[in-house]
Symmetry: C2
Subunit: 274 residues, 2 copies
Amino acid sequence: MRGVEDGLIVVKVGGAEGINYEAVVEDAARLWKEGTRLILVHGASAETNKLAEALGHPPKFLTHPGGMTSRLTDRKTLEIFEMVYAGKMNKYLVELFQRRGVNAVGMSGLDGRIFEGKRKKAIKYVENGKVKIHRGDYSGSVERVNKELLSLLLEHGYLPVLTPPAASFEGEAINTDGDVAAARVAEAFQARALIYLSNVPGLLKNFPDEDSLIPEIPAAEVERYMAFAEGRMKKKVLGAAEAVRAGVGRVVFADARKDRPIARALAGEGTQIH
Amino acid sequence: MRGVEDGLIVVKVGGAEGINYEAVVEDAARLWKEGTRLILVHGASAETNKLAEALGHPPKFLTHPGGMTSRLTDRKTLEIFEMVYAGKMNKYLVELFQRRGVNAVGMSGLDGRIFEGKRKKAIKYVENGKVKIHRGDYSGSVERVNKELLSLLLEHGYLPVLTPPAASFEGEAINTDGDVAAARVAEAFQARALIYLSNVPGLLKNFPDEDSLIPEIPAAEVERYMAFAEGRMKKKVLGAAEAVRAGVGRVVFADARKDRPIARALAGEGTQIH
């Protein structure tokens, strides 16, 4: 028997400037109506920074010893984060689906503990060359996905639109990486494809030179490609390779500034990791 | 067979100052763990006004020819409204449940079209004694509730936490009266009780004199009580009588500043309409 989960696609759309959300939803709605089952995960970082500035609580980012950065999330930041991610952006996307006759259900990772993980209260960071510790942060990584609730919604014809925050194991709201959350969803469903849409054409050899697009990375050769990768891109490539090894059909990094961005990614555009 | 919906309680908690949300959730979580099925509907008006002021888009209210007032909801107001109702307040309440081990799922009326109604684009209002028309508003009244989705969640052990906006029949987000939305939910489930919690002890004969609490109104005698009622209270009494006539066991207006506010309302405190 062919279940609604066969051939599921997980699409993660970032929160950077320049993304054409109408085109993403238009494409997702068309695929949905043609019978493709799909889960959308989204971010809202640029909007969150704007609101945080407007409310006099400007964003702060910590640089970790490994070179990665993350948003410092105190309680006030968490509230602002929830307003933009779970309020403005999530409901905007759900509305775009509803206007197209697709019955979307928007939820954060807190709802039904869709995204669950360990809260990391103490975070090491580097300042003036010294390693320091920030305590009391509301953040953590998604380790568990509530697949049962997502399946229940899909089986009944609802398209899930998901966003951070996640729930800690103690039930606290925690800021979490949306890319990792999307990968955990794709792995839980053994998705046909996991598509990361952002405001660049894919992974770039020489960022931000868009002509330096890397069209393809076999998952087995990821180590060799690490030479090109830095910081956030390194994390993306390693995360993609991990998802493929965990059973996801393929991972694609593609452009969300174009029309039909999902169909293009499925047709081979962007960077394909398989 | 006793279904999960037998004896369901719908609790609406307002968005005014002074409400003890921790006490409301603590009480709801205790009842839930004891086996009572429950749906929570909430507002967030005071917080929305604060955010609107902080963002330089202060709230405006229209006075209708009948004397009622409503929030003027342009597109920018709708975004602010969604940030506070569906973002900050909804996720705050879901988090309070999750911390107590109750698997709540927070959704707006847009999600799965849980609340659906006609968008009322043109609104008559009174200014300087003249009746004028405001056009392009994003508001409307809930006419239909997606009971199937709510039942699905309840049957699988999830406590729904619901909030405006609603979806228009065309799929647009619309600002809507939370009290009416809660009544439509209670009617759809033929709820045992519909409890309105706010920052007063119940319906007051001489507002704001808390000693003038009206303890009881038989639904059949509502007309007689209309003599005391003005504006918003009139609407509340009429709405409650309508819900009782539509099959809701009883409607209670009770105090959300006290501990165990739901248990107190069920035990007979506040204003009981039956």
